[in-house]
């Protein structure tokens, strides 16, 4: 067998193993499905009523942010899963086999996309229930979902890398929250960047979460008329998607 198909074959074997896990450990699946509902409803109603954006529905503005935040949390499963495998010696078992070593990580990150696909479906349905609407074309909306998944996939790799350096489920759990909370909150996910104080505003403008959120928002057609236009040249995705 030549080297390239072998990587794919090995990746498929590892991914299949993780998919079996999704089916057999329903607790994780529950978490994956319930958390997004909770986020949409909590943020939608708690902040949705408190924050006013002139001439627009804040709830609609916020949904794309909740999407981005939730898929990022979903990506932490990758780190936890790999740390768990390291702790149990499974990674060492794999490493003693003549398999492609990148397949261990590729299989894991690939199967974790499933979690995020599920949570996006759940969030979209919940969002529609609480008043969120796709105002652009269906094609653009699909593009937005694809972009969110791609973003989560790349964060999965970051989490996988962290897990290889710190192979402890507990530490990974805490560390990923420490990374993900600032990344998702100091961004345009829940408030317009312009409303943040200066140092945070700079951080938020450079934050990739802002870029992804803004792109999704625009693709969904959820830009409230009252929102100031992003400054040209700062976030390239914002201008290029339109």
């Amino acid at each position: 067998m030549s080297a390239v198909p072998q990587v794919f074959a090995d990746t498929a074997v590892i991914a299949k193993r993780n998919v079996i896990k999704i089916r057999r450990v329903p607790e994780v699946l529950m978490f994956v499905l319930v958390t997004p509902i909770m986020f949409v409803v909590l943020f939608g109603y708690v902040f949705g009523n408190a924050i006013q954006i002139a001439g627009s529905s804040y709830r609609e503005f916020l949904i794309a942010g909740v999407f981005a935040q939730t898929v990022m949390f979903g990506a932490t499963f990758t780190g936890v899963g790999i740390a768990e495998d390291m702790e149990k010696g499974i990674i060492n078992r794999f490493r003693s086999l003549p398999m492609s070593s990148s397949a261990v990580l590729a299989g894991r990150t690939a199967s974790d996309v499933i979690y995020n696909v599920l949570s996006i479906i759940v969030m979209a349905c919940t969002g529609l229930l609480v008043g969120w609407r796709i105002r652009g074309s269906l094609w653009d909306a699909l593009l937005a979902f694809g972009l969110l998944l791609l973003f989560a996939y790349s964060i999965s790799w970051v989490m996988a890398y962290i897990a290889l350096i710190i192979p402890s489920v507990e530490v990974i759990n805490n560390a990923s929250f420490m990374v993900i909370f600032p990344l998702t909150f100091v961004a345009n996910t829940f408030v317009p960047v312009e409303d943040l104080p200066e140092p945070l505003q700079t951080f938020a403008e450079w934050n990739p979460v802002s870029t992804v959120t803004q792109a999704a928002r625009e693709l969904f057609g959820n830009i409230p008329p009252g929102t100031p236009n992003p400054r040209p040249g700062r976030c390239s995705t914002q201008s290029s998607t339109r």
Binding site: V13, R17, I20, V25, K88, G89, N92, S96, L97, M99
Partner: protein, 332 residues
């Protein structure tokens, strides 16, 4: 005969700790090497290097003729490893675990499945085959992990404490599987804490401590190396134990071991039967009544304790036996 496993000058440090300190070893094809050593001796570290999981700081190693550092992937094709702690996937069933390993050895779907079924039978896990391994007992996990090492019928096997946690039946069963594999030409390196296991299975035993080889040979050679025989006598009256100890002290070449509970006294000697006769004469003259007496070779346990216990005084492995005898006779 060609060496299936050979290592020279393996050195591995973990910060301050030197886990391996210039270890050499050679295992001819189709034989079993027993790596023996107390906790922390460096057994697992040696196995990890030979199975490409760790890179040595110094030294070289070849497995099945292939350099472990230069071509780890080629080495992995030819080895099976069962680590010290069973690494089974708890979410998968026993069958799925083995099938997955077969697929990752690239045996193909059909062959992986057939092999999984075969091994589950062989390790008496057929009934539990389709249950999640989460519900397996410790011994069942261990057996599944061992089965995993055999999936690809590798020519070289590494088993790190393979029988730890197995019941006597499973242990005997594993021994017979290992013997069968070896008679078919497989080379095995196994680490163990059980001297009986090394005695039973290994063609050659390498005793290591603090990452260095301190003795090597067959079980018999090691016994000879430690030196002499043991007089083992059971007394009729426990009160005479001290008297017996004093009477036999001039004959002993090492520490005399006396046990109140079993009324037994063990005296290390050299010189064989004539010394035993002398001992009996002395005991008789001293009025010590015996229930049972015999001359025997040292057990591997005694060898092990002597070797590892004397290392601090006698760092040189080769003359450890001779020198320790001299040292002990001075004490006596």
């Amino acid at each position: 005969m060609q060496a299936a496993i050979e290592a020279t000058g393996l050195t591995k440090r973990f910060g301050e700790v030197t886990a391996l300190d210039g270890l050499d070893l050679e295992v001819p094809e189709g034989t079993v090497l027993g790596l023996l050593g107390p906790n922390g001796a460096g057994k697992t570290t040696a196995v990890s290097i030979l199975t490409t999981l760790l890179q040595p700081d110094e030294g070289t190693a070849r497995v099945a003729g292939i350099d472990v550092i230069a071509e780890p992937r080629e080495v992995r094709r030819r080895i099976g490893l069962s680590g010290q702690y069973a690494a089974v996937d708890e979410v998968l069933s026993g069958f799925e675990n083995l099938e997955m390993i077969g697929r990752l050895y690239h045996l193909g779907k059909e062959r992986s499945r057939a092999r999984a079924r075969e091994l589950l039978d062989r390790f008496e896990l057929t009934e539990a085959a389709d249950r999640s391994t989460k519900g397996y007992s410790g011994g069942m996990r261990r057996r599944l992990d061992l089965a995993g090492a055999l999936v690809a019928e590798p020519p070289v096997l590494f088993l790190d404490e393979p029988t730890t946690g197995l019941d006597p039946h499973s242990r005997l069963e594993l021994w017979s599987i290992i013997r069968e594999l070896v008679s078919g030409g497989t080379t095995v390196l196994l680490t163990t804490q059980y001297l009986e296991e090394a005695d039973q299975l290994a063609d050659e035993i390498l005793v290591i401590d603090h990452g260095r080889a301190i003795a090597q040979g067959t079980a018999d050679e090691l016994k000879v190396q430690v030196g002499g025989e043991r007089i083992e006598a059971t007394l009729a009256d426990v009160a005479q134990l001290d008297a017996a100890r004093e009477l036999l002290a001039p004959l002993a070449v090492g520490d005399i071991d006396a046990d109140d509970g079993s009324r037994r006294i063990v005296v290390p000697i050299t010189g064989g039967a004539p010394v035993l006769t002398d001992a009996l004469r002395r005991l008789d003259a001293g009025g010590v009544a015996l229930v049972d007496v015999g001359l025997r070779r040292p057990t591997l346990d005694e060898v092990f304790l002597t070797l590892t216990g004397h290392r601090a005084e006698e760092p040189s492995a080769d003359d450890a036996a001779g020198a320790s005898e001299g040292l002990r006779s001075e004490v006596a």
